[in-house]
Symmetry: C3
Amino acid sequence: MKKQIWIISIAVLYSLLIAAHAKAQKTPAVSEATQACLSCHGFFHPGIRSDWERSHHGRVTPAEALGKDKLQRRVSSEKIPEPFLKTVVGCAECHTLNHEKHSDTYDHNGYKVHLIVTPSDCSTCHPVEADQYGKNLMAYAYGNLNNNALYRDLMNSVNGVQTFENMTTTLRLPDAETNQDSCFYCHGTEIKVLGQRTRETPFGKMEFPILSGWPNQGTGRINPDGSKGACTACHTRHQFSIEVARKPYTCSECHKGPDVPGSAVYEVSKHGNIYSSLGKGWNFEAVPWTIGKDLTAPTCATCHVSLLFNEESGDVIAERTHQMSDRLAWRIMGLIYAHAQPKSPDTTLIKNKAGLPLPTELTGEPVSEYLIDSGEQERRNTAMQKICRSCHTEEWVKGQFARIENTMKTTNEMTLTATKILLAAWDKGVAKGPAQKDSPFNEAIEKKWVEQWLFYGNSTRFASAMVGADYGVFANGRWYLSKNIREMLDWLEFKLQKTPGKTEEQKK
Amino acid sequence: MKKQIWIISIAVLYSLLIAAHAKAQKTPAVSEATQACLSCHGFFHPGIRSDWERSHHGRVTPAEALGKDKLQRRVSSEKIPEPFLKTVVGCAECHTLNHEKHSDTYDHNGYKVHLIVTPSDCSTCHPVEADQYGKNLMAYAYGNLNNNALYRDLMNSVNGVQTFENMTTTLRLPDAETNQDSCFYCHGTEIKVLGQRTRETPFGKMEFPILSGWPNQGTGRINPDGSKGACTACHTRHQFSIEVARKPYTCSECHKGPDVPGSAVYEVSKHGNIYSSLGKGWNFEAVPWTIGKDLTAPTCATCHVSLLFNEESGDVIAERTHQMSDRLAWRIMGLIYAHAQPKSPDTTLIKNKAGLPLPTELTGEPVSEYLIDSGEQERRNTAMQKICRSCHTEEWVKGQFARIENTMKTTNEMTLTATKILLAAWDKGVAKGPAQKDSPFNEAIEKKWVEQWLFYGNSTRFASAMVGADYGVFANGRWYLSKNIREMLDWLEFKLQKTPGKTEEQKK
Amino acid sequence: MKKQIWIISIAVLYSLLIAAHAKAQKTPAVSEATQACLSCHGFFHPGIRSDWERSHHGRVTPAEALGKDKLQRRVSSEKIPEPFLKTVVGCAECHTLNHEKHSDTYDHNGYKVHLIVTPSDCSTCHPVEADQYGKNLMAYAYGNLNNNALYRDLMNSVNGVQTFENMTTTLRLPDAETNQDSCFYCHGTEIKVLGQRTRETPFGKMEFPILSGWPNQGTGRINPDGSKGACTACHTRHQFSIEVARKPYTCSECHKGPDVPGSAVYEVSKHGNIYSSLGKGWNFEAVPWTIGKDLTAPTCATCHVSLLFNEESGDVIAERTHQMSDRLAWRIMGLIYAHAQPKSPDTTLIKNKAGLPLPTELTGEPVSEYLIDSGEQERRNTAMQKICRSCHTEEWVKGQFARIENTMKTTNEMTLTATKILLAAWDKGVAKGPAQKDSPFNEAIEKKWVEQWLFYGNSTRFASAMVGADYGVFANGRWYLSKNIREMLDWLEFKLQKTPGKTEEQKK
């Protein structure tokens, strides 16, 4: 009890010092509510406080932000509500915002506070970005995985626990905690309020909500206000630095493994080399981002997100977009075959002829009604190529895109070959597939088939698209595409040998 | 001969210049003995000289170091011997120190010099760190591998040379040189003086000791003065920069491969992203290390080693420790199952019920008498979580630790499944294990079993502990844990098919 | 049409502004032809323009470059032609140079312009470097792969498309586009002029050459002027920064995958750690590069290319070389066994006793007549070790080199074992090799054999040579060397079992 009084005294004193300090500096103008937050949390969480102090949110008021020229402006709302205009964007501004819509809202020292700040909350000042992000596949990353029976089966086969008895294994479906620690770390969790718990704090007993799926900053998080996504996946808390979002390390959090090798490929590309060698002298804070002046080679954000400017001509090279597929004609990863981008970010809507929730048939034909058409593909390619041409000639760009298209074709063919071997295994009865009411992901040959497209096809296409050399050859590239087929064949031969009738049938 | 005189003349002249230069600058005060070293070695090894000049050792005298406030102090001795107080810590101070205890001491231009500076030598000024490090598993890394019959067998199976004659292979045990180039690079070599050799130098013939196991800076090096370890494993010669030790690249020298993926996981974690994006503006030299002011996200050292300070509250968040397990409740790598940290850093003392030198049974049960108890685990978790709470709420930390514990449970289960398949293979006689006086590491199915825990179980746990996304899924994570089991089963099926009697027996 | 006039007007105005700006600053002196280029291309390609403005080429005239002391000089020609002396090296200086020798030359706004600038062009100012590079294996990277029947077969097996019908696969040879996107990205493409095409531009219709194999900056590119190589592989367009060339990211573009793990190994080496931790404070622009002053640990370029200086002694530690093997006694990658460097960079000249274009027999014996002798090896080791000794003692260097030699021996032995298993497979008729007129690279066991040397042997040797720890053990090192042999044996056993006659024969 004595200790608590002591802590409270220091906290109050500290709060006064903050106020004095703020006054002395004239800025930033911190709201009373945020000062109340800082008086304790700044004390207990120096990392959060310091991060926020370095942020634009902690230094600039929305009124100031609105005062900038359109091209320099970092807020997209034209009418930020009056109460927010004159103080910087602090703890309370975000964590008490729309509290009535948040099932995670709780009473905390006289304030209605919620833990999870959502794209809906951020849209108070950034509505265009929130809207664009809502059309982004990444905003649907949770549902597109969890609510697609086929992908969910893949997830179960990966995350489930196999046990071994009587010379055979049994799969126990994964618990929620495991999925959250695995696929949903990037795809996002579903955050629900399970109840309240009372906890002893330095200020006595306090109540806090109990959340499922927390912590999580996955791109398709299902939030307690019903919204989708987490801006903080890329705009890392609590500095929300555009520098962090623009650097490739942010993307590499979820895009570096063998199934999603974008960042790994970028690292060994010429673009990645230039960034790693010279990026220290670039300006990662400038809005708009001026090619040649602020940066001399692209990072992930340059090509896929940022507002790019040509100072020589005064042209906008690319408008800012938070729908990451907006400059992408093709989808080259995560699925069996490369195919045109889907029309809707909600891919659970898709059904192919076989009734499977896939954008292509099992043998590769696109399910066109759900995919963007060639006109839209051309529009997206044109948008992307305009960026390329900031530093490359027309001849260069044309040659580069021809290679990517060729590589999509050949990797799709190599996947089709693997698929045919798998179909033969199912047909000959040496493996069991959907027709036998069995998962297509649980047997060894099925797992090899998955690697053909999920690892090697992807990697080869990324290497082609981003010019990542060995990722198209020996680093999960064509070497493995070709080796894997031979190993699938050997597996088939070994299994057929065990079932002699089948083998003879085969020899006919 | 003429050339030698010329060189000596230049060296003497150079030595005078150094002295003059030192005088002109007033500092640093270099001892006469060190000036003698520099007069030749500064000339021949500009890299060593320059590194040292940039070091604290080369710029600060122990007397000055002792004069700092306790919290800022970089020396832990209260009574550094008088002769060392007034000059900076130069070549001679370390390389002639305790020469009587060093079997590698030799006569060199009138000085008793030894090549290998050891933790014992460093403890003259840094006794607390040397003492802590002596309780560190890493200080025992040589013996824990070399003197554990089971691990030594694993090492032999990895490093040995297999030859092929008459359709079978034979293992030739690895030579000492190979082990030094392989496992012992990180674990440390045993350095022995094998004799002396005479070598022609620019100053005529000179004698030098012949050392086995040299060069080496492994963490568990057995030194010629009988001490264990190499401070230079992390405090890289000859700048001994705390910046280097605190940056993740140092740890990555030994902790990046599939068996020890800590650094690889860190790189793609949110923490790693923030470090890579913003670390350029942090202060890696400050002692103590102030959260929020000097750094806004942790590196390896932050959580595992450093003295951390909260400037807002004036609290020490974490005391400095060089016993790296001091904030770790669990050991999640390098062994078959995740388990509580061992009590003693000398793990050769451990024996399980089966008489094997393992901290768990082959089927996973912990050998509790050799492991820390739940009280000590809680103490260590509390120490670690206090660091987490500098930037995270209680709810966040609680959720994060619950996931790690769940992941230890499920990865242990997946390892148990692999172990049961291996036991079946041994039992059915299609592979030979310890019961058949054969290595458990030399056959293909045994190697798959090793990968289940040494690669995939580890990687999944690290991804969970450090939030490294795909390292828990497709980058050596759960995908491989589940695939490997199916491949072990196929291997078993294939071998049983070859020995029909066994197969029938199995079908009963 | 109206739009075109508008654009041309702006371009002309812009051109005048450039001239005015150049005058105001006095420097740089840009030639009239280059100003014509910039007037449009600076406008449309701000990235190219800005890169070039930051380059030495854009800021220094050849006359100024020639005025420097020999050691500081960045041009090696003593007699740069008069017309180039007084203006900086701009677009026109390079892209119209030797236009009569270039089959890619075309008429462009009154200038004879070629797209591909070649080592021959660069040799106008940098003849020594061009000459050295011409002796570099890397300059022959295209032909050494494409014109070696054995390697070409490997390339076909990797890049070709396999189709599956009637339970068997058929290989379709790779198309040119695929090879360009794969192996030739690093090795270089052959660039040919296929014709001309007319394209609509902002200035009306214009003609441009159609090139095969474009874009490409591979090290062994076959250029339209008949020369070999691309300086821009490392001296990245259009900044041509020596900083980029000296940083390891440049090498990592082509040397990071499992077949060529140099950069990956460097990253986790002590050298790489020091570079990553402290390199931010080094001077990557200085010529010569002074050890201890400009850098305190080597990057790739330090040991393999750069002019290194010892300021203390005034000695040149290493002369600049663009023949990258000039300090390398051994060739440890890309071939079946480690062996002495070849005498000629054109390795298609080599024939072993079996008539194969290999520097060793299939069983490892070197084909000595085509390889450098031990005297030349010693010369190269001496050159390299002089660099090592800038920071390491004689004892250290001696020990380090002894380990590398031992590792070459043991990895060669482990490859020989794999080769013997493969030979047994061919001999027993369960796989088909050259004697059966079949590719040695297309069957599963053959692919395992390739991985033994191309991945695991290489990786282990690189780890030894550059002290990269786990790359010699569990990260594609000895663990895989030993595991792969067991898997090759199992494969053999499985296949022999299918052909019982053979199996009995084996048991005799």
